[in-house]
């Protein structure tokens, strides 16, 4: 039996806090950010390392670039990416007024 609308929770009736249009638009933006993040993840985690052999011909401060990307470069990208993601997603939450009270 599909229940439509609000469901009674143990903390009393829980109102639908966000109207449907806003909710959908919010989720579209959140999904787009998710795909962008996954793309960066795929490139840093896999993509660049496909070219490790050719990147190794370039040397920076003694580091062959292909080796460096797997040892440190991609890790730095992941860390920066996550701090940026947290900031970006918070901004999206606020834009749609769905941040936590």
């Amino acid at each position: 039996m599909p229940l439509v609308g609000d469901v009674k929770g143990p903390r009393g009736p829980v109102a639908a806090d966000v109207d449907k249009a806003t909710g959908d638009a919010y989720w579209r933006r959140t999904s787009n950010l998710m795909w962008l993040m996954l793309a960066i993840w795929a490139v840093a985690g896999f993509g660049v390392h496909l070219f490790a052999t050719s990147l190794n011909t370039i040397t920076v401060f003694g580091f062959p670039l292909g080796f460096y990307m797997a040892a440190q470069g991609s890790l730095i990208i992941f860390v920066v990416q996550l701090f940026w993601f947290a900031k970006r997603q918070n901004a999206i939450d606020e834009e749609f007024g769905v941040e936590e009270e």
Partner: protein, 595 residues
């Protein structure tokens, strides 16, 4: 007791920076005092004892002070752990004895190809942050199977989750206890079997009285010790070799010298390149392993449950970023360890007369981690005549750098902290799944909170003792089995968790079928190739068996979901409510929202 800790913890939480600042200073002072004691002639054995017992004593004290009688404190530390400190706790929860001691050695032995571990064990946090942690936090679970039970309406999905969790976490925790046993026996000079139970005591005092709350604050303390212990020796070694105490930047020079020596030094004939990719593993195994480790990271319950403890969804996201940062500090240093150790071996060990090798070689030969043979009887050590165990690299660095024994004791304390903290997290994940999901949710939903806590503690002790007993039998290949945990967790849990949040159409039947198929395919390939001589599929090693299990699980979940009736409107509302940070969670069918 139930009221007092609450008042205390208010003070405690607002003073975290000061408390852990003093703690770090106190630890530094402790190391300096031991260094002085060593100079005035206190024997090494006593220094080892002091390191092991004083650090375990501090963890026990924190565990005792964090005791609690409240269910939400026990399971999720009252959901009050600030993002930064939860990040530190996750760091030590994550980094095990294998990361601390074994990682640099793997890089030493495998060169570029070992970097699959560095990439796989960091990149997974991106998936945790964007796909899972904020939504699981919003749902407000106590355990990972809790989410499966609510999303897939029933105990079948919950039970499937518990089974995957148990199989992934149990071998992992046995390996950690094994690791504490090895470290404790080496530095206390007692038998391995006894050391295992010393380690067990160390683990239990941290977690039994205070559950997640105690484990959290001990893990923060353990992170501080393990990161100091990891960085200090290699910083000093870098300063000695290059004159600059920043190993992460300076090991480029070491890499250049290693490659130059390899090509010019006669005794190094046969040494593989340190920087050339795909020597030990072909690209498909290299990338396959990265893939399985990353998705496994995002499915291991002892990691996911750390994000249930933050005060908000926003903090959960921020906390994953901090976790990765604190993990990164160790992982981006590991390649430097490997390079400096290799340079030392290539310059001063290989090609030297066997009669006059550096002192550290004989120290570690005695323990069996280094083996020197003179196969061609020319009195000169050739590359092929020198074998070093992966575990020796980090442990031997203090001696390689000619540092006093106190630094070796510090490294041991760090390794112990890494093993204990991971074991704590894993044990808690297993015992909580049993006490919360199996006992409370499935067997006796009427149990009051006092009874639930008693059951939780008893199960914790029982699981710990079984794990310690298994470890004390020195099971063969236990360390190899740890790597399997990632594939098992990813195949069994990742699709059900991710699709549960991101695809509303996922049905209970689809999720359960996906979990069963993924877990089944993964285990079939593992056991078949490992024990029954089954040929490898496409040449993929069984450490990456998730490469078959994960797609199978995704596909099954997808197909079966489309074949079964779409989830009810109430379920779709529930999914909407966990996707949105604001507002309450709209549970289906009158299930209770947890505190």
């Amino acid at each position: 007791m139930s009221d007092a800790p609450k008042a205390q913890s208010g003070d405690f939480l607002s003073n975290l920076g000061r408390i852990y600042g003093w703690y770090t200073g106190g630890f530094a002072a402790f190391v300096l005092v031991l260094a002085l004691l060593e100079q005035v002639g206190v024997p090494n054995r006593i220094i080892g004892y002091l390191f092991v017992f004083l650090t375990i004593g501090v963890y026990a004290l924190i565990g005792y002070l964090s005791r609690t009688a409240q269910v939400s404190e026990y399971y999720v530390a009252g959901r009050r752990v600030p993002a930064l400190y939860n990040g530190m706790a996750t760091g030590s929860d994550w980094m095990s004895a294998a990361s601390f001691i074994g990682m640099a050695g793997t890089l030493y032995l495998q060169g570029y190809d070992g970097l699959a571990f560095v990439l796989g064990w960091t990149g997974g946090y991106v998936l945790v942050a964007i796909l899972l942690a904020p939504y699981l936090r919003k749902f407000g679970a106590y355990t990972v199977p809790d989410f499966l039970g609510a999303r897939y309406g029933g105990n079948l999905a919950r039970l499937a989750g518990v089974i995957v969790l148990m199989s992934a976490s149990f071998t992992y925790v046995v390996a950690q206890i094994f690791g504490t046993g090895i470290i404790a026996s080496r530095f206390l000079g007692i038998s391995f079997e006894v050391s295992v139970f010393v380690g067990l005591a160390g683990i239990l005092v941290c977690s039994m009285l205070g559950g997640m709350r105690a484990v959290t604050w001990t893990q923060v303390a353990q992170y501080i010790i393990l990161i100091i212990a990891y960085l200090l020796p290699v910083v000093l070694l870098s300063a000695k070799v290059t004159g600059v105490p920043v190993p992460q930047l300076m090991y480029g020079q070491a890499l250049e010298q290693i490659e130059a020596l390899r090509l010019t030094k006669e005794a190094l004939a046969g040494a593989p390149s340190h920087i050339t990719p795909f020597i030990n593993s072909d690209p498909i195994n290299f990338f396959g392993l990265i893939f399985c480790l990353m998705l496994g990271t995002a499915s291991l319950p002892h990691i996911l449950m750390r994000y249930f403890t933050t005060p908000s969804v926003r903090d959960a996201r921020q906390s994953v970023a901090w976790s990765l940062f604190f993990i990164f500090l160790l992982y981006f240093t590991a390649p430097a360890y490997a390079a400096f150790a290799k340079l030392e071996v290539f310059t001063n060990v290989i090609g030297a007369p066997i009669a006059s090798l550096p002192e550290w070689v004989s120290i570690w030969s005695n323990i069996g981690l280094v083996r020197v043979t003179d196969a061609n009887a020319d009195g000169i050590l050739q590359f092929r005549e020198f074998v070093i165990n992966a575990d020796a690299i980090v442990l031997a660095t203090p001696e390689i750098a000619g540092l006093p024994y106190v630094i070796a004791g510090l490294v041991a304390a760090g390794g112990l902290a890494a093993a204990l903290s991971t074991a704590d997290g894993l044990l808690l994940a297993i015992a909580n799944a049993l006490s919360h999901d199996v006992y409370y949710r499935m067997i006796d939903p009427q149990a009051n909170s006092k009874r639930r806590l008693v059951v939780a503690r008893i199960l914790l002790v029982v699981v710990a003792i079984i794990a310690a007993w298994v470890a004390s039998t020195r099971p063969a290949g236990i360390l190899a089995m740890v790597a399997w945990a990632f594939s098992i967790a990813a195949s069994g849990l990742f699709p059900a968790l991710v699709m549960g949040v991101w695809w509303k159409r996922t049905t209970s039947a689809g999720a359960v079928a996906g979990m069963v198929v993924g877990y089944g395919v993964c285990l079939f390939y593992l056991i078949g190739t490992q024990y029954y001589g089954m040929p490898l599929w496409f040449g993929i090693r069984n450490i990456s068996c998730g490469l078959f299990g994960i797609p199978a699980a995704f596909l099954t979940t997808f197909v079966v979901s489309l074949m079964t009736q779409a989830p009810s409107q109430a379920m779709q509302d529930f999914i909407d409510s966990i996707r949105t940070p604001r507002g309450g969670v709209r549970m289906v069918g009158g299930e209770k929202v947890l505190d």
